[in-house]
Symmetry: C2
Subunit: 441 residues, 2 copies
């Protein structure tokens, strides 16, 4: 393999790094072509899914003028002179429970007992709180109510359509369904909800050192923790992981393994094997695609459908991260190093999965925070440092770089809720500097 | 029902409000007695669950001295005088793939080709990056490598146990399993993970105005949106909702309905019917428990097991929120108003579900933010205003009170990611004031 060392013709070191933003643009453009379509799910299974259509109000809301509390529906004019000493006395003509319908209109000099949420009877234009009334009996025995102060027209009534008008757009396609959306969907009768289908993602590990998680350790071997981590991140992204185990070291066997998941997977994610080592099988695959000699899954006669999006990204960790279109499937190859794998997922895979589910703003949300401690490692590329956000008592936020931030260090993955972006350069960033932090779930 | 109006003896208005903190303390103390036990789930289903035991390192990590990159394992001393002009020439005695085992030790004057993640052979104390080496051939034809600069002892090697020592505690019981935890679990061989059982939560709505979500609207009726919203929040909290539909108006029938879910539910949540109206059946239930006349589900001979925790909370919205122990079941009765129902869930139900899953810090996370606009409603009680957090370019955060913040208004539920706490008083809070904001998922 000596001919592949140095700056030989094989291209092993001949990988031009694209900027992170450019890599994201390429991946999102590819993901745009990978929409998975929509499906109907029962309302109670819609939480966390992405809407496939604009959620619209199917009626005015409220659908009728509603009483905001328990009390009496009155005509405000009848109470204009009321005071504790000289209360207005109104004959009670009806009692309207929530869900019931008034039998009589409220005419001058009358009132109707009304419950929270009930439709305000015709004629009434205010509801007086029960606690501000007293019951009474008219001469002759008819029930009445004493109102001790003037009611304001409209008080304690939510007019029809106050919140929403029929047809109003309440949420855009791609919106993740939160509990508040479930309430809106229920209100407007969506017993079934059109949601984006969950993308199916094949997950492969590479590396002959890898043991299954259930295996005992053996000399020189470690367990494959990336597959399960990536699967958990895929689930978090609203997609369905398909755990495919470890890929063999041989590119032809890799092609065969991809072939086997081809019809079932919308996206293929691999971990490891993208570096410059002798056994970096994913690098071999990417090189084959680049040189036009790939004849595995997705390969077509014209060979136009297979193309490398990038085989190096200007970032730390995870610079060997690569991406290719194999026919109509997107292959995202992450570093095997757990920290780099994690960062590569947040920057590239999660955005792809979001976009495949119709999300417009598919990139991680960026906020500004003060760096709580220096990150004084120089780097030729932008560095993504796992941090924990600190909300301070004065309303500021700080990002604390986690102690174990070497890319091989796993404890910081579990603890981080942000990735601080330290721009490339020889200095790193000082404590107190404002930096961009990408929020991670 | 005239005898129940005013400040009569029935207790309808005779409800002493407890402070929110006190209500939370009472609910969490009750939840402490409702632990659901643990179960083993496959690693790939553990994401989002709560750990039932301390997660411990089952070996040192790394389990052996690992090469951090592709290159050559050397004895640093052999390279001490190396320079680009006078490189050290070392005979290559072995090639160690990740997962492989060195056949030879690295002795003075020798080196071993090594791949990222492979075990560093005995004798070597540094790894030199492949890109900083060149291959060579010794007289006689043996393979060699040229090292052009001095290696530092330990460079590019992660020593055994650098990250974790056997037995180290990595996460406490109650920790929610995030992707980073999944990586740790995989690394340490947890093919099955001991997690807290998901509490089963029976969800009932009350209100004769309620239609099922699938039903067409009818005069005076609205659809039951709370049940589905609460179910989505229960799922979000790691628990299992059991949607039980609407409770009848009659307390005896309520008792029978509770009886039917008794054995299957760990917690019972109701929405609506807690106010002072004539048909507020949950208020009736709470009054019966308070007065000792409750004989429904959970009632025992001694009657000691049934007790009201509170039947009014000093908060807006949601002041009628009530809680009782019915035997060994906790009943949490939320307001029917969607906004109040939502706030009641965040302040009381979610914390209860967290605690039932072993979470110590079960209350919502509180941060400090600047109020982006005034909340100038006076209130006799602390007010919980739905807000959207704004991360500003100077590293501060602001909380924007959502326009539709009346308790009946639903759009703001979907849009909010925080509840700003506006202390009770006659003034509300001004724009720019620092307020406490409870983060909501």
């Amino acid at each position: 393999m000596a001919e592949e060392c140095g700056t030989g013709t094989s291209g092993r070191f001949n990988r031009r790094a694209v900027k992170v933003g450019e890599a994201q643009r390429l991946v999102l453009a590819a993901a745009d072509g990978l929409r998975c379509g929509s499906e109907l799910v029962p309302l109670r299974e819609s939480g966390g899914r992405r809407l496939a259509q604009t959620l619209c109000a199917s009626s005015d809301w409220p659908p009728f003028a509603r009483a905001g509390l328990d009390g009496y529906a009155v005509r405000a004019a009848d109470t204009a002179q009321a005071s504790p000493e000289m209360p207005a006395t109104l004959r009670v003509v009806d009692s309207v429970a929530a869900g019931g319908i008034a039998l009589a209109a409220v005419e001058a000099g009358t009132a109707a007992r009304i419950m929270t949420g009930a439709a305000v009877p015709e004629g009434a234009d205010a509801v007086v709180m029960l606690e501000q009334t007293a019951e009474a009996t008219l001469p002759g025995g008819a029930a009445a109510v004493l109102i001790k102060r003037a009611a304001r027209p409209g008080q304690n009534i939510a007019p029809r359509g106050e919140e929403f008008r029929l047809g109003a757009a309440l949420a855009a396609p791609g919106t993740v369904v939160r509990p508040g959306h479930v309430a809106l969907l229920g209100t407007f009768g969506y017993a079934e909800v059109p949601v984006q289908k969950r993308p199916r993602v094949a997950v492969f590990a590479t590396g002959s050192e890898l043991l299954p998680v259930a295996a005992p350790l053996a000399p020189g071997r470690i367990r494959d923790s990336n597959s399960a981590m990536v699967a958990a991140m895929i689930e978090q992204s609203g997609a369905e992981p398909m755990l495919c185990g470890a890929l063999p070291d041989d590119p032809d066997a890799v092609a065969a393994a991809l072939e086997r998941v081809w019809d079932d997977a919308d996206l293929i994610v691999t971990t490891g094997g993208v570096s410059v080592g002798d056994y970096d099988v994913m690098s071999d695959i990417i090189r084959r695609v680049k040189s036009g000699s790939w004849t595995g899954a997705g390969h077509d006669e014209g060979r136009q459908a297979c193309r490398v999006l990038f085989d190096r990204v200007a970032m730390r960790p995870g610079s060997p991260t690569s991406a290719a279109m194999l026919g109509d499937k997107l292959l995202l190859s992450l570093s095997g190093n757990p920290g780099a794998c994690f960062v590569g997922f947040e920057l590239l895979v999660r955005p792809a999965l979001q976009r495949m589910q119709g999300v417009r703003d598919a990139l991680p949300r960026a906020v500004t925070a003060r760096l709580a401690a220096a990150v004084d490692k120089p780097s030729p590329h932008d560095r993504y440092v796992r941090t924990r956000l600190i909300y301070e008592a004065d309303g500021r936020i700080a990002a604390d770089p986690l102690a174990f931030s070497k890319s091989s260090m796993m404890a910081s993955i579990a603890e981080s809720d942000g990735l601080a972006v330290i721009p490339s350069g020889s200095l790193g960033a000082k404590a107190g500097e404002l930096v961009e932090v990408l929020l991670i779930p």
